[in-house]
């Protein structure tokens, strides 16, 4: 399997994102409540949605890995989680900036989506030390898949629990996220969401392409140097293997 660098996808991503940002600043009206600060919403929420869906996708890929035993699904699951965690960092930082601008504090415990996202993010951060701690490659892949499935089941549960814990005394900070979006805002939001989803997919493809190249180089090296070849492979990131090798 070879992953060709997705040029058209990247171009489409850039186009959609630029369109989305242009719409944000030139088309979407200012929010009645929060004013200009609400513009962060078009950045923060699409990132969060894509990260969470990314985690679900990783869980599905993990299931496919366990059922088929094909290592390519483990590679995809790993990359899905990796990119979603990176998106997660962006979510938390932009969410924090939004909270600071809106509410004066760098983090608000009253916003259930932000809080439950923090918990999910902390959980998926443990994915890396887990992979690192298991040396046998096959076992590492299998256990990582079990983790991805468990964590995937955890995400909706956690969201429900945190949502229920929200006290009714404090109003939602990111109230716009719920409803009260005008048609213009909704359209802008959807374009940004599409752009972020495309960005996620593009980054995933780039990661997969790099891994594939590195694996091929490793094979080439082994063919030329024999088995004492020392490659620059990562210990935890699974390397895709070509079919029939």
């Amino acid at each position: 399997m070879s992953f060709r660098a997705p040029r058209t996808l990247a171009a489409l991503t850039v186009g959609t994102l630029v369109a989305g940002f242009a719409l944000t600043f030139f088309f979407a009206p200012n929010d009645a409540d929060q004013g200009f600060v609400q513009k962060v919403f078009y950045l923060h929420v699409p990132l969060a949605i894509c990260a969470l869906i990314g985690f679900m996708v990783a869980a599905v890929q993990a299931v496919l890995h366990l059922r088929s035993g094909d290592p390519k699904w483990d590679v995809r699951s790993y990359v899905s989680i990796h990119i979603s965690v990176i998106f997660g960092i962006a979510v938390l930082v932009t969410g924090s900036i939004w909270a600071r601008a809106s509410w004066g504090k760098w983090f608000v415990w009253d916003e259930p989506t932000l809080v439950s996202f923090l918990i999910v993010f902390l959980l998926y951060c443990t994915y890396y030390p887990l992979r690192y701690a298991i040396e046998d490659r096959e076992r590492q892949a299998r256990y990582a898949s079990v983790f991805a499935i468990t964590a995937g089941a955890f995400v909706p549960l956690n969201f429900i629990a945190v949502r229920l814990a929200e006290t009714l005394v404090h109003p939602r900070v990111f109230a716009t996220a719920d409803g009260g979006l005008t048609a213009k805002m909704t359209f802008t939001f959807l374009v940004c969401l599409g752009g972020m989803a495309l960005l996620w997919e593009t980054l995933v493809r780039f990661e997969l392409a790099t891994k594939s190249s590195r694996a091929r180089i490793g094979r080439l090296r082994r063919a030329l140097e024999g088995d004492e070849a020392i490659g620059s492979g990562s210990r935890i990131a699974p390397a895709p293997r070509e079919a029939g090798s």
Binding site: F36, V37, V93
Partner: protein, 66 residues
């Protein structure tokens, strides 16, 4: 019509978008560093392959001569 009051709020919004851009650029930088390393390894392997071809050619020549 652009909604651009560059007061307090504007700085935060700009900050958020800049953070996003910065993260993206950091990612691109890391990827390009990785690709540079892969390039270097390929060059090495190219040399190795060249040596192997040389060796095989000289062995074949000897076999013909001998």
């Amino acid at each position: 019509m652009p909604a651009l009051p560059l007061d307090e709020a504007g700085k935060y919004v700009a900050g958020a978008y800049l953070v996003f851009l910065a993260l993206l650029l950091v990612y691109v930088a890391i990827m390009s560093a990785r690709l540079a390393r892969l390039d270097r390894e390929l060059a090495e392997l190219g040399e190795l392959a060249g040596n192997v071809v040389e060796r095989e050619r000289s062995t074949r020549e000897e076999a013909f001569r001998g």
